[in-house]
Symmetry: C2
Subunit: 246 residues, 2 copies
């Protein structure tokens, strides 16, 4: 119970500029930081989380161990960078899909599939990643305030998807659907991580089966017969996950 504030943004000496526009920063510190990040990402990808030691990362980046800790409070924080990298790639891959003119379901399938594809080369690493992300208070936790930026980034994908579809659905559901889809994607990743079928084939087929079902459910939400089901479900959702908080 000792350390209460795990969401310690701003305490890191190099964090004041972290929130915005780091890409434009070309100062010495930023170069070092980048060297550490890219070394960490590469080594994580090559050897996994456990086998990549902080000493190895520092050596690869050409800095001392202590210096790595000047920029990152812990090894876990470097995992967060790895995650950001993947998320950026997902976003890039998803862009043409969102702009494409296919159906809601097809686009959702494509988005989820790209999510899997981005992670695919790192299935072993992802196992450890999940373990780190699952602990509450960890900056990598998808529910933490520290990751709110990347969370909003991710939900924005589904926001755009939902906003641009003309599929008829309950308006309240429409308002909540982006968050729900984000949650579904989260669950999918967890499922994928535990999927031991070769190449995680099962996860892909689950996507192909689940999306049409989701589409069906969403369409059904506005039908009179399903009214109580929809309404009660949304009420429950509001209790579980109030629109305001995370």
């Amino acid at each position: 119970m000792g350390s209460v504030t795990h969401t310690d943004n701003g305490s890191s000496p190099a964090a004041e500029q972290a929130a915005r526009g780091r890409a434009a920063d070309t100062s010495r510190g930023e170069q070092t930081r980048q060297a550490i990040v890219s070394s960490a990402i590469r080594l994580f990808g090559e050897a996994g989380y456990e086998k990549t030691t902080m000493r190895a990362i520092a050596a690869d980046a050409g800095v001392s161990v202590g210096n790595a800790y000047y920029y990152f409070p812990a090894k876990e924080a470097l995992v967060s960078e790895f995650y950001l990298e993947l998320q950026r790639e997902h976003l890039a891959r998803v862009e043409p899909i969102l702009n494409g003119g296919t159906s809601f379901g097809d686009r959702l399938t494509a988005i989820l599939r790209e999510g899997i594809e981005v992670w695919a080369p790192h299935h072993a690493f992802a196992g450890r990643f999940i373990g780190i992300a699952a602990v509450p208070g960890s900056p990598v936790s998808p529910f933490s305030t520290a990751s709110s930026e990347s969370r909003e980034l991710a939900t924005s994908i589904f926001h755009r998807l939902v906003d641009s579809t003309d599929v008829k659905m309950d308006p309240q559901l429409r308002a909540r659907l982006p968050q729900l889809l984000w949650l579904a994607q989260l669950g999918l990743v967890v499922y994928w991580v535990h999927d031991t079928t070769p190449g995680q084939r099962r996860t892909r087929s689950v996507v192909d089966l689940a999306v049409p079902y989701l589409e069906y459910l969403v369409g059904a939400s506005r039908m009179k017969i399903f009214r109580p089901l929809t309404t009660r479900g949304l009420t429950l959702l509001e209790a579980v996950w109030p629109r305001a908080a995370g």
Copy 2:
């Protein structure tokens, strides 16, 4: 990708008798083992996972550090013992509920509530626990073959609940409901771990709201109008989670 077999049962020198009837074993080794386990459980409960060092556990149990590793392959394995302890207590608390004559929903609520109650004193610790349990291949993972015994123990609770209810529902759903409820409980624990409301009040109110909704859904499953929804849902479930495998 190095170590493939994480489910290494039987490799531990003291594990051949681990599967059954350890309570009856009174040999020297078993006493030592028990001393380590109870020290670990107590210290975990008192100080959390991180702050409880292996040295502290060993000292408290009156043995050497190396000796602890003779019985347990890693610190994580001791967490598994902690989990078992809680599960046993949950089972004990649930017994009178299952034998009670209240409705399906009331009993389900009571079961889930007791699950929360058992964990309640260890909310902080549970955060770390989730992190360990979430990594695939970990013996503590609820999906691992290593924890199949405790998993079947847990599902047996819901099996008994479902078998003893006369709530009308789709027969296929009935066949799958115990597993689904177990999964729901898992999700509930994850939710509870991340619940930062004082005393995790929100989780409790979620239970109170979700169970009636579940009851409603289950009842609706046999109605003709919901037929496609039910059938398609069960088909999807079979793809996601084949009846045979985990």
